[in-house]
Amino acid sequence: MPEASSAQFSTVPLPTPSSIHAHFDIRFIEGLLISLFFRCMAALLNFAHRREEGIKWWLVFYTLAMFSFVTVYTGMNLYIQSISFIDNRQDVPAYSPRASGPLNYQHNFRQTSLGLIPNTMFNLNNWLADGFLVGSLFDFAHTLPGV
């Protein structure tokens, strides 16, 4: 029923409680991520375990970059959710065909840094994660020759 849902969407703004539940989930996973990051950095910077090969600084900076990207993305996304779904949940569109509500408010700043930076961080994080997996495969193929 696309017509009915569109009509409903254009008149009724999104409810706030779903956004708040999403915030709890995101903060929970962000906590897991922070603990994982510090465990990983402690292992990477451990001199006792890496006496022979030394600290691989590119891995340290790679981890730091991925953590920075995803933290910036999460922080800005939480801020966007907060200002659009709570502060401006009944935003009035500039002209009549547009839908009212938080999505209209998000649509207004899509070309600003607030709209562009989170998506850029998401893409950079995805490229770093995929690139690390591709690099691991090539490393693996080099370590096990002839397979």
């Binding site: 696309p2 849902s5 995101i26 899509r110 020759p145």
Partner: protein, 241 residues
């Protein structure tokens, strides 16, 4: 084959891009009347990943091609958003193939690594004086750990986002809300690829610590010992986690 596949991909992506660009701005920006835009996410969602499947998936260089295609689609998404195209429209037309190809790449890479582990295990078992220390259960544990860690988490969360994006093309409220809260979760699951605490070194690292100086000038016995140590290095690393 690879050339024609990539050419097909580029032409298809360009046609999608021109289709998005030629859509009138007023209808693109209209959230309440998405049917008038004339864009459906399903062709791009189906044809781009299927076009990638034409590539020879068993070769290592294919992963680089798929990664490059994924990066190109991501740049296109950012470019369209910077030009002011409706975010929901861009994500439903280009975001679906972007995430689908990313999932395909992750599944492909994970399967490639697991197949190499299994082949190496069979090779070592067939060799005389084979030190089978890990065993079938250890191999299964290593493979299942890799499947869950590298592939399953990201695939499941990405499929949730892709399904929500398909529904969000019709601007249904629930689907848009699902996209809103599942995208950050997907971004945080992406960093499951944090470099492992015991990152495996190159074969030269393994040989430098022992009595085998180089791989090229080693005897067959030395090469066998290097293979054993390399095997233990990888399998124990996955089993002990």
């Amino acid at each position: 084959m690879v050339f024609w596949s990539v050419l097909c991909l580029i032409s298809h992506t360009l046609s999608r891009v021109s289709n998005v660009c030629s859509t009138p701005r007023s209808t693109v920006a209209t959230l309440s009347t998405p049917q008038t835009s004339g864009l459906s996410p399903f062709p791009a969602a189906c044809t781009l990943p299927l076009s990638v499947c034409i590539l020879p998936l068993h070769k290592l260089a294919t992963t680089l091609w798929i990664n490059a295609i994924n990066i190109g689609i991501g740049i296109a998404i950012l470019s369209f958003q910077n030009q002011g195209t409706d975010t929901t429209l861009v994500f439903s037309s280009l975001g679906i193939p972007y995430l689908t190809i990313s999932v395909l790449l992750n599944v492909l890479l994970t399967l490639m690594i697991i197949i190499r582990i299994v082949l190496y295990d069979r090779k070592l078992r067939a060799a005389p004086r084979s030190p089978v220390a890990v065993g079938i259960s250890g191999l299964f544990k290593a493979a299942s750990t890799m499947l869950i860690e590298s592939c399953a988490l990201f695939a499941v969360s990405s499929l949730v986002v892709v399904g929500s994006l398909v529904e969000a093309a019709d601007h249904s409220r629930g689907a848009v809300a699902t996209v809103d809260f599942s995208f950050p979760i997907l971004a945080e699951i992406q960093v499951r690829a944090f470099p492992r605490p015991q990152y495996p070194g190159q074969l030269s690292d393994v040989t430098d610590t022992g009595d085998c100086s180089t791989t090229h000038h080693s005897t067959s016995r030395q090469r066998e010992r290097v293979d054993e140590r390399s095997y233990h290095y990888w399998t124990h690393q996955f089993v002990q986690r």
